[in-house]
């Protein structure tokens, strides 16, 4: 038998607490109300509109991939690493109007595969004297093939060993670091048995601008037993991708004459647009006193430029006029890299279901989900995930998680192509000598070697540890380890092991329940007249908190400076002087033109006693530098660099503030701080 509780009339509607951590722990008098509200609520789909009581949340996360197997080559590139930052708030504006606001940013850096090639092409061969592969990937070269088009092994100097070597490897290129920023806002209106929400957002990064609008609604059909959720979303994307400055001289951009332009500083940029239309419908149903089930369907129609502008496919051109170089019975091929080409439409459908079950014997929750997806690119996927949320003593909750994913390859996925034609043919006519390029119609209409379109499986395991502190403060620490494996694909037949990699994700969430915080503030009003209690944040030495008190602060700092190089207050150094005096013995070609800095500083203060307050100030910093050509300096052989950016955790500041003397109307405080070099 479930407990009989009073049901406030207003709360019979669809409450959608997104992360309903127990406010009861800080508001004992409202325990029954909170439980009642949660009990009549049917937890909604992932598209929750708002938290009824409101919260402010911050999140920092890091994703990092492991080293790739480059067939014995030691790359000097770091693997892909992403630093995530998110800050947001949810709450109610008026009685029935709610809002949510989120700011997200992620900074990507590290190396990424640009193509797949036979090992014999030696695309990751060392370019530096230390034996490590360097900045320029080798995407062009030559191959020797046997009569069955299998790659023949050479000793690296063009001498055949007589063995077949069909091993493949990713060609790795450095991805220039960049930061993406996204803001999104959602407004909701809540009726007794229905809710409507309208949202939108913009995502900005150097090469990609994306905006979306979203309309959704929920309807309670059966006193909270059955809720239907519908959503419609439209996204417009604008691509303005500067092609890899190191690789672009070696990439064939044919076929994109209308999309590729040279910008004002000489970079080759690809400009195009794409659109997504997303529709989803779901039903959430209470099956019994312990079980919920969700079934949902999603459809996405994408159109426009759907390629990845930084991926190429290598084509081995067998030129009939060069076959005097071929081995006996085989072929000689020149390899060139072409920008990948995908269909300009994609229709994706997914069906998913999720079961949530309360387990009496431990009080845990079992979450079991399955999703099947397919699209007209012939990618079919299965996703199975399992979570167990186990409450522990002292307001801890541990949630171990396991996820299995498998997909088939797109029908145009190719590791590389072989084409029996010349890459270029020299023609001598009345107008002189002309170069006739290869016949594009002899290649497939679409081709991509992006490993995300290959057949593979993945296994991810992780856990989240959550802790509810006093006054509505909620902390989460989450870790996940991810294995991408070709042979994990359901039924086998996945990509070879060269594409395997590992990755991990670590994240922490700090969240404050505003209703619980307000309630706690009322109870501690007697502290409001303490010295410094009303001082604004950032005032050094002002915040000596009452015993067990805590304070949380956030500061966003933006700075911009030009690139002029001063001479200690005696004017500026000109380009000519830089070239003459600062660029020896090495040459230099670029100087900074402008630097922007975003600094997000978090302040966490806690008072273990009434005379001591401890503070921790983690900060997240990202910077972007715009460069210009140094007048008279060396000219880059490749397309010029224009911007560089990076971001991540900055130094961690730790401090303590203590009261050493106190007499009527006066206090003597001493502060001590240090900065740990974590950035």
């Amino acid at each position: 038998m479930g407990e009989a509780v009073a049901v406030p009339e207003r709360s019979v509607g669809i409450a959608r607490s997104a992360c309903a951590y127990p406010v009861a722990s800080v508001r004992p008098s409202s325990t029954l109300q909170a439980l009642s509200r949660a009990a009549v609520a049917l937890p909604m789909l992932a598209s929750s509109v708002y938290a009824e009581d409101g919260d402010v949340h911050f999140q920092y996360g890091r994703y990092r991939e492991g080293d790739r197997d480059l067939a014995g080559v030691d790359s000097d590139y770091d693997p892909i690493q992403v630093d995530f930052l998110q800050a947001g708030a949810r709450g109610t504006l008026f009685d029935r109007i709610s809002f949510s606001f989120d700011y997200l940013q992620d900074t990507w850096s590290g190396a990424t595969p640009i193509s797949i090639a036979p090992v014999q092409l030696r695309g990751n061969r060392p370019t530096n004297p230390d034996g490590m592969s360097g900045a320029t990937p080798y995407v062009n070269g030559e191959l020797f093939l046997d009569g069955d088009l299998q790659v023949l092994e050479t000793d690296g100097f063009g001498n055949l060993t007589g063995e077949v070597d069909d091993e493949l490897v990713h060609t790795i290129a450095g991805a220039s670091p960049e930061t993406r920023r996204q803001v999104q806002l959602e407004l909701g209106y809540d009726w007794t048995r229905a809710a409507l929400r309208l949202g939108g957002g913009v995502s900005v990064e150097r090469d990609y601008l994306s905006g979306y609008v979203d309309l959704g609604g929920s309807l309670d059909l059966d006193r909270g037993n059955t809720v239907v959720d519908l959503a419609l979303s439209f996204t417009q994307n604008e691509i303005d991708a500067t092609l890899d400055h190191d690789a672009v001289p070696y990439i064939d951009t044919g076929g994109y004459e209308d999309e590729i332009h040279r910008d004002d500083v000489g970079n080759l940029t690809l400009k195009d647009t794409s659109r997504d239309l997303r529709a989803s419908a779901g039903v959430t149903r209470i099956l019994d006193e312990r079980t919920l089930v969700v079934a949902s369907a999603r459809y996405i129609h994408s159109s426009g430029y759907l390629e990845n502008p930084y991926k190429v496919v290598q084509v081995a051109f067998i030129d009939p006029s060069q076959q005097f170089l071929a081995p006996p019975g085989g072929y000689y091929a020149n390899v060139h890299a072409l920008l990948e080409r995908r269909p300009d439409h994609r229709n994706q459908v997914s069906l998913s279901t999720r079961l949530v079950r309360y387990l009496d014997w431990t009080g845990a929750s079992l979450h079991l989900g399955y999703a099947f997806g397919w699209d007209d690119w012939d990618v079919r996927s299965h996703t199975l995930d399992l979570e167990i949320g186990q409450p522990l003593p002292w307001s801890f909750t541990i949630t171990p998680r396991l996820r299995y994913y498998s997909q088939s390859e797109a029908d145009f996925y190719r590791s590389y192509l072989v084409s029996e034609q010349a890459y270029q043919t020299v023609e001598i006519g009345p107008g002189g000598v002309t170069l006739r390029p290869y016949d594009r119609s002899l290649l497939p209409n679409h081709f991509s070697s992006d490993h995300r379109l290959s057949a593979y499986g993945s296994l991810a395991a992780g856990a989240t540890l959550a802790k509810d502190l006093e006054r509505g403060v909620h902390l989460e620490l989450s870790f996940e380890y991810y294995l991408h494996r070709g042979d994990y694909r359901l039924g086998g037949g996945g990509e070879a092991s060269f594409a395997d990699y590992d990755a991990w994700t670590l994240s922490g969430v700090f969240k404050v329940d505003l209703a619980a915080l307000a309630n706690a503030r009322v109870r501690s009003r007697q502290h409001a007249h303490r010295a410094g209690a009303a001082a604004p944040q950032g005032v050094m030495g002002a915040h000596l908190l009452p015993e067990s008190g805590f304070m949380f602060g956030y500061r966003a700092i933006y700075g911009v400076r030009d690139g002029d190089m001063g001479r200690g207050g005696r004017g500026f150094v000109g380009d000519a002087e830089l070239v003459a005096r600062a660029c020896r013995p090495n040459t230099c070609g670029k100087v900074p033109e402008e630097m922007q800095e975003h600094r997000h500083v978090f302040e966490l203060m806690y008072a273990p006693t009434s005379w001591l307050t401890l503070a921790v100030m983690p900060q997240y910093v990202d910077k972007e530098m715009k460069l210009r050509q140094l007048d008279g300096g060396a000219v880059d052989d490749h397309a010029p660099h224009q911007r560089h950016g990076n971001g991540g955790l900055g130094d961690l500041r730790l401090s303590a503030l203590g009261r050493v003397l106190s007499f009527e109307g006066h206090e003597l405080r001493v502060g001590l701080g240090l900065s740990a070099p974590t950035g």
Binding site: V7, C19, R285
Partner: protein, 75 residues
């Protein structure tokens, strides 16, 4: 292929019908076991969104996020 796909759709619709029609429903005062925070379908949305952002960037499947945004994910 088409027959297999139709079978999956039929199974999905059947499961949905069963879930929505076969149960009499649970009165609000008997839902205390459904109320704890860890029973929420989206108990920790920030961590879920981060994970799904990573999956969407590194996998070729239908993104779980109902909304747009999310960026290029080109690397």
């Amino acid at each position: 292929m088409r027959r297999r796909r139709n079978g999956l759709v039929a199974a999905f619709v059947a499961a949905l019908s069963f879930a929505t029609a076969a149960c009499a429903g649970v009165e609000p005062w008997r839902r205390s076991r459904l109320a704890p925070p860890h029973m929420a379908l989206d108990a920790c949305p920030e961590n879920r969104r981060l994970r799904e952002h990573v999956y969407e960037s590194r996998e070729g499947t239908v993104p779980a996020e109902r909304r747009g945004g999310g960026g290029c994910g080109c690397t």
